[in-house]
């Protein structure tokens, strides 16, 4: 039963760094919802508190010392993000937004303002999160672009048989690197190459990928990458967008306001240089600094080690769930764990995911229940909702064991 994990991570040590797992009177917390938002290590909170306690001031505009230091900290977080994903020009190619959703809206808006016209085709997949679907539906409504979808098969893979047909004449391919429901890791570099051959720009939604798997935008071969801070140990309130510098230079701004301009007249304005052109108003300064600390923490653990750890947890979890519940549990998505990121969406007997989640909660097991912001995918799966467990660096065998035990309790309760 107790297979040990293949891991380079010292999870006991890691858990000590996370205050939420070390509450004085804490009941056990089996947190299996990092796919929705991860927990934060103390060093991230400290980085923000230190900043506020020593050198907070608005950035970019102040000549005095603490404002200069705030600017320096903010801008150096930008560079950290850039290096984290091997951006060729970290200082110019990373934009801060409020979340991955804003990063994607920025792109859909900016692209439709300049490069896309009525009838132009944008290709998505049927497994997209609403964040990479609704912005395009808005662009469709507003500007008459057309959407095509790459379908998915019963095992949770993209169906690529007709991909030539689908990409034909497309102007944009915007696709998630991994599904937040199925866990499927999509063949991005292949898709990017095919899309580029059609002359399309390629946007990757990295919200669920970048926190878990070593990311190199060059080998992915994409043009833009949307990310979010709170799923990778960072604070809420910060998202990121990487884009190739020549494309960012080409695109018009998204929001207007302070900092994103070079000049403003009563009858018009001149945008600032990249990346600031895309950052209107006071940015999430402390949040960028907290994110920088999160990236340091992740790099210190090693992204490769994180992936190995998660794969090993997934193997253990599949094993336990299947051996304990057999046909009573149905896990969505690929069965080959190498093709998956660390999320497990499942149906358990006939118990509604809300009820599953509520009962699991009584044992301190936190899993998400709902449509996971992927209603079209849910419809494809023929369900309204699923329960989803997702893993991160602080999870261990205990968490899986607690999940299995709590599921057994739910089974008994609704028997």
């Amino acid at each position: 039963m107790s297979k040990t994990l293949t891991t380079q991570l010292n999870v006991d040590q890691i858990r000590k760094d996370f205050p939420i797992f070390n509450q004085p009177e804490g009941k056990p917390l089996y947190f299996l919802d990092s796919g929705a938002s991860s927990q934060k290590p103390q060093c991230v909170l400290d980085a923000m508190d230190n900043y506020y306690s020593t050198t907070h001031a608005n950035v970019h505009r102040g000549v005095y010392h603490i404002a200069e230091q705030a600017t320096e900290l903010y801008e150096s977080s930008r560079i950290k993000v850039g290096r984290f994903i091997s951006a060729p020009h970290p200082a110019r190619e990373i934009l801060f937004s409020k979340n991955a959703t804003e990063s994607l809206n920025l792109l859909s808006t900016s692209l439709t303002r300049k490069l896309l016209k009525t009838g132009d085709i944008v290709v998505l997949s049927e497994m997209e999160h609403h964040a990479n679907m609704v912005p395009w539906l808005i662009a469709k409504e507003q500007f008459g672009i057309e959407l095509r979808y790459i379908p998915i098969d019963d095992n949770g893979y993209l169906i690529l048989d007709n991909i030539d047909q689908i990409l034909k004449g497309a102007k944009v391919l915007s696709i998630t690197l991994t599904s937040n429901v199925l866990g499927t890791l999509n063949p991005i570099s292949e898709l990017a190459e095919m899309a580029h051959n059609e002359g399309a720009l390629v946007i990757g939604d990295g919200a669920q990928y970048v926190p878990h798997i070593k990311t190199d935008v060059n080998t992915l071969g994409i043009d833009f990458l949307a990310m979010t801070g709170h799923k990778m140990l960072g604070p809420t309130g910060i998202g990121m967008l990487w884009g190739k510098s020549h494309l960012l230079e080409l695109l018009p701004p998204f929001m207007g306001g302070g900092d994103m301009i070079s000049d403003v007249r009563l009858d018009g304005f001149t945008p600032n240089e990249i990346p600031w052109k895309f950052e209107a108003g006071t940015p999430p300064i402390a949040e960028a600094i907290g994110l920088g600390a999160a990236i340091d923490y992740l790099e210190n653990l090693g992204m490769e080690n994180i992936r190995v750890h998660e794969v090993s947890l997934m193997e253990y979890a599949f094993d336990q769930l299947k051996s304990r519940f057999g046909e009573d549990i149905k896990i969505h998505g690929p069965t080959n764990i190498a093709d998956r990121s660390g999320v497990i969406s499942f149906e358990f007997k006939n118990i509604h995911p809300h009820d599953v989640s509520q009962i699991l909660d009584q044992s301190g097991v936190c899993v998400r229940a709902g449509h996971h912001c992927a209603k079209p995918l849910m419809r494809h799966l023929g369900v309204n909702a699923t329960a989803r467990a997702s893993f991160y660096i602080y999870n261990q065998q205990d968490d899986v064991d607690a999940l299995v035990d709590a599921l057994a309790k739910a089974e008994a309760f609704f028997a």
Partner: protein, 156 residues
């Protein structure tokens, strides 16, 4: 943290496992409305057969969690045979029971809580524990909102 027994009373489990008035009516003549819970995507359809000013019969179909389905089932029992005024009062009573945490949870519907006796609630009182689980309030109120929708569709 409130316990499971607050949420899952015996009456609830009974109505969940043996939902009353499940099914459909041909519509028209029955009036009909569809509702869904944006949180989880659950959907249900309410069919109402009117007799003048009263609900002569009612049926519900759809999917949902135990709270959503038992609440729907309890509702059908409570409203069948009632006049629209009575139904309106029942709805307000139910929402009042659910609105205890309205403000702090930021619920959209701000219903003026009304005075009522527990007796008026009947079996629906089993759902009282739901207010301790604010996220589930939407599950419990879905059927009521859909019924109201159906009755509005009728007038328009």
């Amino acid at each position: 943290m409130p316990g499971l027994e607050d949420l899952y009373r015996e009456i609830i489990l009974d109505h969940y496992k043996n939902p009353r008035n499940e099914g459909e009516f041909p519509s028209p003549p029955a009036i009909k409305a569809e509702g869904h819970n944006p949180l989880c995507g659950d959907e249900l359809t309410v069919y109402v057969v009117m007799d003048g000013d009263a609900i002569k019969d009612i049926r519900i179909s759809g999917q949902g969690c135990s709270i959503s389905r038992s609440s729907a089932s309890l509702m059908t029992v409570a409203v069948k045979g009632k006049t629209l005024d009575e139904v309106d009062r029942l709805m307000k009573i139910f929402k009042s029971m659910m609105s205890i945490s309205t403000n702090s949870s930021g619920e959209t519907e701000v219903i003026e809580p009304i005075e009522y006796s527990e007796k008026e609630l009947g079996e629906m009182i089993a759902l009282q524990g739901v207010v301790k689980f604010p996220v589930r309030i939407k599950c419990a109120t879905l059927s009521w909102n859909t019924l109201m929708q159906a009755l509005e569709n009728r007038s328009s």
